[in-house]
Subunit: 205 residues, 2 copies
Amino acid sequence: MPLALPAGGIFFSLMIPDPAGPQRWQPLAQRSQLQTRVFAVLGRTYRHPVRRIEREFVVIDAPDWVNVVAHTADDRLVLVRQFRYGMDGFSLEVPGGIVEPGEDPVAAGVRELQEETGYAGTSARLLGSVRPNPAIQANHCHLVLVEGVTLAHAQAWDPDEEIEVTTPTVAEALALAHSGQIVHALALNALMLFEPVWRARRAGI
Amino acid sequence: MPLALPAGGIFFSLMIPDPAGPQRWQPLAQRSQLQTRVFAVLGRTYRHPVRRIEREFVVIDAPDWVNVVAHTADDRLVLVRQFRYGMDGFSLEVPGGIVEPGEDPVAAGVRELQEETGYAGTSARLLGSVRPNPAIQANHCHLVLVEGVTLAHAQAWDPDEEIEVTTPTVAEALALAHSGQIVHALALNALMLFEPVWRARRAGI
């Protein structure tokens, strides 16, 4: 059936499940299956309210993350290139990292940008927040825009970090995103939420 | 330093690391830390070629995934809404699932679309492939475009699936993506790679 867009109808329908539609499974219990330095793996037992079955589903529980679009006054973006052991190769990305417990996501973005690249800006705001994988992962990734950035500090890498900073023009960075040369899903989210903001500004809207 | 775009320079620089830039860590060994139904957690020991240190990094090893933009002849997209235990709530997404061993990613997308929604199309192709999280995750997510889709089959859900199908116009779906009502990072990647394809087609390019 077609989805009606206006008047907040979508949001309402997402929050209040249709009794005939997908049901909200009820969490009953959870246990830790593994604790690592960067995430925990939980086994969470759910009960289906209608089917009356119970299932243990696996959930990756990590802190929230932040990814940062850092925009210079001369219309460049600050990108980072580093070795990523998950993909066992090099990845070109936007700066980012882990939101500390209790830390504001925008403040976390400003901090990570400065630590990884030495860049600091004149203003910062949230572009949006996504779920890296709502099927198996509990956390959010916040996407932050920092504007008017300049190289203001020394980098302060974590012990195992080694980061090359590049500053393509916005048009070049977006071309990299659209042509498959930036492959990090969350970095792409950040750049693609930034794109309409940037186009509107250029059009003087 | 600014990044030079033309003449394939970026691709080359990503493949052949600058000796003065980030180094490629060398994998030495790996062990299984946890095996679940949907992923394994590996401990992979790496050695830094210059610093001569060894570290065990944690890698989530999952099969490749596929997400599908399914486009009807009357300019609608097929979206699915389901309960996602990772985020413990409802999520509006594009259809998708797991690529079977040896399966072609485009064929996997066509199959998952049909199983989850009953829709089948007249043509299918790869929009792009991303890394869900290159920092800690080894797999790819392939983003597939299926065009000319119509409701052609019965749904064939996996045992624990329960899926509501909606068919907003493309403009409505993209508005949902840009306004934070679609939060699944990989679904957003698929929609945002589709957007310029769709705009070009509408402009008759």
